[in-house]
């Protein structure tokens, strides 16, 4: 049940990412949101430091846990405590969990509600109509988006300094992990159940690029998270094959492609890397940990091919 919700949200996000149909309206919405945040901070100083924060979305859960003291968080989404998809699950314990239903949220008298663009829509619309302060965060399709999300959350939560510090720490680590100029970029593909690969306009694709790897999914014309036939994967023959760490909750045909003997035959001559899903399912600073894992794989490939 839980995972179903996540995967549906992911799928929605990917579909949007793939078609980019909403792209033109996003900057306007974002500006409006920022304006609302700024205005509410200016008009109601009591809200400058919200202390009854409610989050409805896995990604905003982690933003809140990162930026504000735990005692100011009234409620987090029920996914916040799942260690496989939440990078802050160890700090989420003991906080009331919600399932994004209005009846759960209203009695908490939140002074700000953090939501994701693709979750709990009916609740978010209701809360907005009722005049609550809602930060509706879009998904991140790049590391630049992550910086923007962190600053956005910092502004809404009255923690702009913390947000800037997080962004600066992130940038410092990214600079240290970046490949030296002129260094070879080994090829890589992120391959998921059902034979899905990550394209260029995805957070995963951007993380791969930041780690100094060449994302063959993007080169093969995959948009968003799209289908890549096993034959095509074999022909592209990436030097690094990236898979996630999620254990199937029950058997499903979707995982068969990852166990196919043809893929196993290829893996023998490829560096396989496992990136925990929780590091890049959301646009949070933890994506730098994913960059670090992939940068290590890059060094391994270069060392191997150099010797």
């Amino acid at each position: 049940m839980a995972a179903q919700t996540v995967s549906r949200r992911q799928a929605l996000g990917w579909r949007r990412a793939g078609f980019g149909a909403t792209a033109s309206s996003l900057p306007a919405t974002r500006a409006a949101l920022l304006l609302i945040a700024v205005l509410s901070a200016a008009i109601a100083p009591a809200h400058a430091q919200p202390d009854r924060i409610v989050s409805l979305n896995l990604c905003t859960d982690q933003m809140a846990l990162m930026l504000v003291p735990r005692k100011t968080i009234r409620s987090l989404s029920y996914l916040a405590v799942r260690p496989d998809i939440s990078a802050a699950s160890d700090r989420a314990g003991g906080i009331l969990l919600n399932h994004g239903r209005s009846e759960e949220i209203l009695p908490l008298h939140p002074d700000i509600i953090l939501a994701g663009r693709y979750t709990a829509r009916p609740t978010v619309f209701l809360l907005e109509r009722l005049g609550y302060d809602v930060l509706d965060q879009d998904i991140s399709r790049s590391i630049a988006d992550v910086r923007e999300r962190v600053r956005e959350a910092g502004l809404a939560l009255g923690k702009t300094d913390e947000a800037e510090a997080q962004v600066a720490a992130m940038d410092a680590r990214l600079a240290a992990l970046a490949p030296r100029p002129g260094e070879r970029r080994p090829t890589a593909i992120y391959y998921q159940p059902n034979g899905f690969a990550a394209g260029a306009d995805t957070l995963v694709g951007d993380v791969i690029a930041h780690a100094g790897l060449d994302n063959l999914g993007a080169n093969a014309g995959v948009r968003g998270h799209g289908r890549m036939p096993l034959e095509t994967l074999l022909e592209l023959h990436p030097e690094v094959l990236i898979v996630d760490d999620r254990k199937p909750e029950a058997p499903a045909l979707a995982y068969e492609v990852l166990r196919h003997p043809a893929l196993k035959a290829m893996i023998d001559r490829t560096v396989q890397v496992v990136v925990p899903t929780r590091l890049w399912i959301c646009g949070i600073p933890a994506v730098v940990d994913a960059v670090e894992i992939l940068a290590a794989a890059r060094s391994k490939v270069i060392a191997r091919s150099g010797s």
Binding site: P229, E235, A252, A254, P261, A265, M266
Partner: protein, 343 residues
Amino acid sequence: MRATAGTGSRLWPAVRAWRLPIVLAALLAGAGMGSLFAGSVAMSPGEIARALIGGKRDVFEIIVWQLRVPRTLLAMLIGASLGLSGAVLQGLVRNPLAEPGLLGISGAAAFGAVVAFYSGFAALFLLALPLGGMAGAAGAVVLLLVLSGPSASTLTLILAGVAVSSLAGALTALALNLSPDPYAATEIIFWMMGSLADRSFEHVQMAAACMLPGWLLLFSVRRALDALSLGEDAATSLGFDLRSVRFRAVFGTALAVGAAVSVSGTIGFIGLVVPHLLRPLVGQEPGRLLAASALGGALLLTLTDIVVRLLAPGPEIKIGVLTALFGAPFFLVLLLRLRREAS
């Protein structure tokens, strides 16, 4: 002079009997070669040949040996099972509309396979998955014979098949919805419409191991089907034990169809179309139809699977969609013709 003529006239029926299977086998071999060329990666004949000879363990060799060869073999095995069991069922119940898909045998096999696969039972040993499929198929055949009786009318049999089909479909959907895995629920399309995409030699092994004994059982009723075309009394008086004939046909079908569905999902109409197309060519003898239907089913499914791969620039369409697109109109025409004959 007379001696030569005598040999010739004795040889002639034998040649005639083998001509159709030989032609079909030759076409099947050609389709099998063609099937090695179909896929998302374009390969020249020279590259295919080098990959088939092998020894280099390069990417082309992996693509040909680990993806395209098992896929082609599975299309042949499954097509043969469906064509053969269609021919046997039609002969056994003397009903031109009998077919594993229409009678709900494939659907029930899918339910059995779904239970075996998603419960984790299939991971225990190689043959666990086809065992589930065969159990489902056997259950459906027994249920059908009980529901419709041994010499049922066309209508009764088809209606019983509709009942078994919809029950099996509902149970399959239920089983998939009960799985905690988020992907499982979307996989109903595979079990309902079938696909041969990304199957491996493991599937070929498990399918073949169960299909071959099924085929032997099905072929063993060859002569009995000829006798049955004269009626049950005639068959009994010719010395055929009809209980044993029925048993072998039923369990042969369960083995062949159960194993087929458990690796490819439900692929409909092959068992209906193939025997009908070939029946005029074998002189209306149900026994002679069996080998021809097996080869014809293998040929038709191999060709359909090539079309599936050529059609799709994006995600592959399910192979059962294509077989239904030509099978369902065929079924309707057949119904019209039967009605005209009856009136």
